[in-house]
Symmetry: C2
Subunit: 206 residues, 2 copies
DNA sequence: GTCTATAAGAGGATAGAC
DNA sequence: GTCTATCCTCTTATAGAC
């Protein structure tokens, strides 16, 4: 680890402040409705200064998404650090973290099918590396859980993986929260229930 | 029913063509990425002519969403027309129709949390009426299915309702389709399975 | 690297002739 | 009601002084 000059530290701190603001705005409004002017105003610097740190709006968002991916990877490692946890426990753990993050308004929205952000992210090595690493980690748990019988063997592992990823942008959380009569924890519990146990009633034996 | 002059028929036919184009473009790219120029070009008329039929881009999209809502209501009535169908069967029927429509690329995307389309739709009487009617229809089935025990009683009916509505914009379908190695029917079956039975393995008795 | 000022362009909407 | 041509606003991005 190289020692940093004071100036470098200030530089990094400012970039962190920028990325934090972008993360929040992405979670609030999504990529298309977030404007660079807005980011600059909230950080408290001029727009031109923003462009000295990040070359484009896409790069700005990519930096935020990379940080989110790093958080997710940390969570995945935290699941693996639990000694007695089974594969399904780990899958539920990372899913719950995703839902909690989203309901707290801290999950930047994933790129929609046709966003210009999508191609920028696909071209972004740091993001794609993180995504691959996370996919492999979850994929291993899924295969394990299916051989356990704790995840339905009729589903291809990729379908399970995508279903868990999709919880990051599940609109059901927002709908229930808009009602205003439930706590965040209660909402997360219900979505966890539908995700892993489905809408259908379980037979009495279950 | 008033008889229509030839000119009126042509007028309505053109509006139908416009709405059909908007529905397709909404399904393809969503509201924000769809441009009015594009709509005009695909319909084959000038943009100014479009604005003689619909006063704004929001009104254009609202007309498409209203038509979609009417299709959904027809489907709901079709479910009720099945003589031996139970409540859970009807819920599964409308959900399957939703998934099939989306995987076929014919489901206009629902308004995101902060789209300008959202407020326009909320202010649109025809859309809101349809939405209420559909909600009440599904709500009745949900209550019935919960008293049957065929839908999990631990879930509040609104959570079940939102979960079914959310299938209209479930990104899992798109992810699986992008892989290219599954048929649409297979994809729909898997998402139906996760929606109603969840990711978890069922006990052998199930 | 920060600022003010501005370019460059996309996209929603309209004017006015026919 | 349809067209061509235009307006106007918003937004990304950059120029150039300090």
């Amino acid at each position: 680890m190289t020692r940093l000059s004071f100036r470098q530290k200030v530089h990094l701190a400012r970039e962190d402040a920028i990325v934090a603001t972008v993360k929040r705005l992405l979670a609030e409004k999504g990529f298309d409705l977030m404007t660079v002017d807005e980011v600059a105003a909230e950080v408290g610097i001029a727009k031109a200064s923003l462009y000295k740190h990040f070359p484009s709006k896409e790069a700005l968002a990519a930096a935020a998404m990379v940080q989110m991916m790093e958080l997710a990877l940390q969570q995945a490692q935290a699941q693996d650090a639990q000694p007695g946890a089974s594969a399904i426990d780990k899958l539920k753990g990372i899913t719950r973290w995703t839902l909690q993050t989203q309901v707290a308004g801290e999950m930047p929205t994933l790129p929609a099918e046709n966003s210009s952000l999508r191609s920028a992210l696909i071209a972004h090595k740091g993001y794609m590396d993180g995504l691959m690493q996370l996919s492999e980690q979850l994929g291993a748990w899924i295969v394990q859980a299916q051989s356990d019988g704790t995840v339905n063997r009729a589903l291809p592992p990729e379908a399970v993986l995508y279903t868990i990823f999709a919880r990051a942008c599940d609109p059901v959380l927002g709908f229930l929260k808009a009602g205003g009569s439930h706590t965040d924890a209660q909402i997360v519990d219900w979505v966890m229930l539908t995700c892993f146990d489905g809408l259908a009633g379980r037979p009495a034996a279950g």
